[in-house]
């Protein structure tokens, strides 16, 4: 069965590109969110298999949001996707429970590789 993904990114442009890549690779995009509030609202009764999470969001720090997401749905795998490549940020995200990190700008292959590498 195809795995479901929620995309959290404030940029419609980024969401559309990720959407295109994910559908192309056989994933189901179950929801998109442009802000932390919207992401948390979407998680009510709908836990996707994977969440692609941007770090810089208009209403919240992605790292704080990451913590809330993992508390709310511990079975969802969160992949952080950002152009902030500071090792400190990456290791903090991984410490908090992120399963992978995708550096922006990404290629479709890089996205696919990160998602396929997620262990069940």
């Amino acid at each position: 069965m195809s795995r479901t993904v929620m995309i959290v990114d404030d940029s419609l442009f980024m969401r559309k590109i990720l959407h295109g890549i994910l559908v192309d690779k056989g994933y189901i995009v179950s929801a998109e969110a442009a802000s932390g509030i919207e992401a948390m609202r979407n998680l009510h009764g709908n836990h996707p298999d994977i969440i692609l999470l941007d770090i810089v969001l208009p209403d919240s720090n992605g790292l704080d949001l990451l913590e809330s997401i993992i508390t709310t749905c511990p079975n969802t795998k969160v992949v952080v996707c950002s152009s902030i490549a500071q090792p400190l940020v990456i290791s903090k995200a991984l410490d908090l429970g992120a399963r992978a990190f995708i550096q922006k700008p990404f290629t479709p292959e890089k996205v696919a590789e990160a998602l396929e590498g997620l262990e069940d």
């Binding site: 404030d10 980024m14 590109i17 890549i21 810089v56 208009p58 922006k104 700008p105 290629t107 479709p108």
Partner: protein
């Protein structure tokens, strides 16, 4: 991966980031202590960089990257966002906007950004900034005043409940609705003539539906004032910098909605008034302090809704205008006769600045000289069936009030008859109608006048004002009169007869009819006749 399908999305999103970016810089420069706004500013630069990187636009990435870096330093408190770095960042966002426009046009990059990138990269916050000191007396750089600015609000995230429609489609919808309303009047007239009573009910229904259609079509065309106002704070800031004046610009009522067509037409006139305010209206800091005022001038722009109208008020606390000097200048330029000048009220004298030929090259500067003059401002407002009023107090400042309908094309009008012509007077210019007895019409220096609330108001014949033949000697005991309010000045027009009030669809006149004085447009009546729309302010 083929990125071309995402190009349009990139362009539109990049634009909205850049426009918000410019707006925020001006906001933060005025209110340094707003970390939320700084965060958002950083996010816009960051998103620009990320998007451009995804699209492979390396020249944009390089510039956005260095802007993001400097913002990161500002955000961490290393140095404040002051005028020099603000100028650099604004130059950066302007450059990015041009690069985005090139991408949209599909042309290759011609702009060399290396100089700007180097200037941004080597910006030294400790270097003495050539800024206008907030306290010119002390001569030392004062720390930024902690202005109690309203906390920054985040924009709403985009909703999928809306779709984009081409503006031409909306224009067509207005035209079709206007024609439908005209046709309803025709139908109503035919039904009346045929005495077809069974048609009355469906006609009544049609009237209600047309009204609902008109309201919905207009609602779809409404946009918040913010659409055009976004650039004003930046414009005022840049003008003030150029003039070496310190200006506090306040904008109230950004959320008020107006028809897209009106917004489009009114932006240039507003810019002209703002330019005038900063350039001519406000004094220099030294002059202000000498006059016992604060060193920084204030320009406020207030947008407010009043029933079917919107008022845009632009006020400054500058030197104001001297009515006597205005009159003198108008006489010198041959715009009015010395006799007329002597009779003129103070209020009328201010309107003189809108007379064609009033301002000359000597008073036109690099800043206000561009674009339109005040005569064009008044013309633009009148074309929108609006009214421009000017108030001023010598030494205290000036106030420009533009009263505009909130929608275009379809207006309520009073229909009057003059000889063989039916004429429409826009209802927003009509104060009231009166039936005057002969004894109520007085003579003042040979001109008929009437008393309204104790004030003497000149009474004119609408026929004569429009150059129509005078009526045969009136035998009517009563003179039907329409009292008009032209930007605060009352004026009475006698007419043959008042036919009623009607919703009309305004059609512009083409040359040579557009050159007719006192006529701003036309409409077609139910029985197919052409009805001219009177521009009362042009007859004042």
């Amino acid at each position: 991966m083929d990125m071309s399908p995402y190009r349009d999305l990139f362009v539109s999103e990049a634009r909205s980031h850049l426009s918000a970016f410019g707006e925020l810089i001006v906001h933060i420069e005025k209110s340094a202590a707003d970390p939320a706004a700084l965060d958002e500013l950083f996010r816009h630069a960051h998103s620009m960089k990320g998007m451009a990187a995804t699209m492979g636009y390396e020249h944009i990435v390089a510039l956005a990257h260095i802007m993001e870096n400097q913002l990161s330093r500002i955000r961490s408190g290393e140095f404040p966002l002051q005028s020099v770095i603000a100028d650099l960042l604004l130059e950066g966002s302007d450059t990015l906007a041009r690069l985005v426009a090139e991408i949209e046009a599909g042309s290759s990059t011609s702009e060399d950004t290396t100089g700007l990138i180097r200037r941004l990269a080597t910006f030294d916050p400790s270097a003495k900034a050539p800024t206008i000191s907030k306290t010119p007396h002390e001569g030392t750089e004062a720390p930024p005043e902690p202005i109690a600015a309203a906390p920054h609000q985040f924009r709403q995230t985009d909703s999928f409940k809306s779709i984009r429609i081409r503006t031409e489609t909306l224009d067509h919808l207005v035209n079709i609705t206007g024609e439908l309303i005209t046709n309803r009047y025709r139908l109503a007239e035919a039904i009346g003539l045929a005495d077809a009573t069974e048609c009355r009910e469906p006609l009544h229904q049609l009237t209600g539906l047309l009204r609902a259609l008109r309201d919905e079509v207009f609602k779809a065309r409404m946009l918040p004032f913010a659409i055009i106002a976004e650039r004003f704070p930046r414009l005022v800031r840049d003008l003030a910098r150029k003039q070496r004046k310190d200006v506090d610009f306040q904008l109230v009522g950004n959320e008020i909605e107006l028809d897209r067509g009106i917004l489009e037409e009114i932006a240039e006139p507003i810019i002209h008034i703002l330019r005038n305010a900063v350039d001519h209206g406000l004094e220099t800091a030294a002059e202000r302090v000498a006059a016992g005022k604060s060193a920084a001038g204030t320009v406020t722009m207030t947008v407010c809704r009043d029933q079917d109208h919107v008022e845009i008020i632009i006020a400054d606390d500058g030197r104001g205008m001297d009515p006597e000097r205005l009159k003198q200048k108008a006489v010198e330029r041959g715009i009015i006769s010395p006799e007329r000048a002597a009779q003129m009220t103070t209020q009328d004298a201010y309107q003189l600045i809108c007379a064609p030929g009033f301002s000359t090259a000597a008073t036109v500067t690099d800043i206000s000289g561009r674009g339109v003059g005040m005569d064009a401002v008044r013309e633009a407002v009148q074309t929108l069936v609006g009214v421009l009023t000017i108030h001023s107090t010598s030494g205290r400042g000036s106030r420009f009030v533009m009263r505009l309908p909130i929608t275009v094309s379809i207006i309520n009008a009073l229909i009057v008859q003059c000889g063989q012509f039916d004429l429409a007077l826009p209802l927003n210019a009509v104060a009231r109608t009166m039936e005057l007895k002969r004894t109520e019409i007085l003579e003042n220096a040979g001109s008929p006048t009437i008393l309204v609330d104790g004030a003497q108001i000149p009474l004119r014949s609408l026929r004569q004002s429009l150059g129509l033949p005078a009526p045969a000697e009136a035998e009517d005991a009563l003179t039907t009169t329409v009292l008009c309010d032209v930007g605060g000045t009352l004026l009475a027009f006698s007419v043959d007869h008042i036919s009623g009030q009607q919703e009309i669809f305004v059609r512009p006149l083409r040359s040579p009819l557009s050159r007719l004085r006192g006529v701003s447009g036309a409409t077609i009546t139910g029985d197919g006749r052409v009805l001219f729309i009177v521009d009362v302010s042009a007859l004042a």
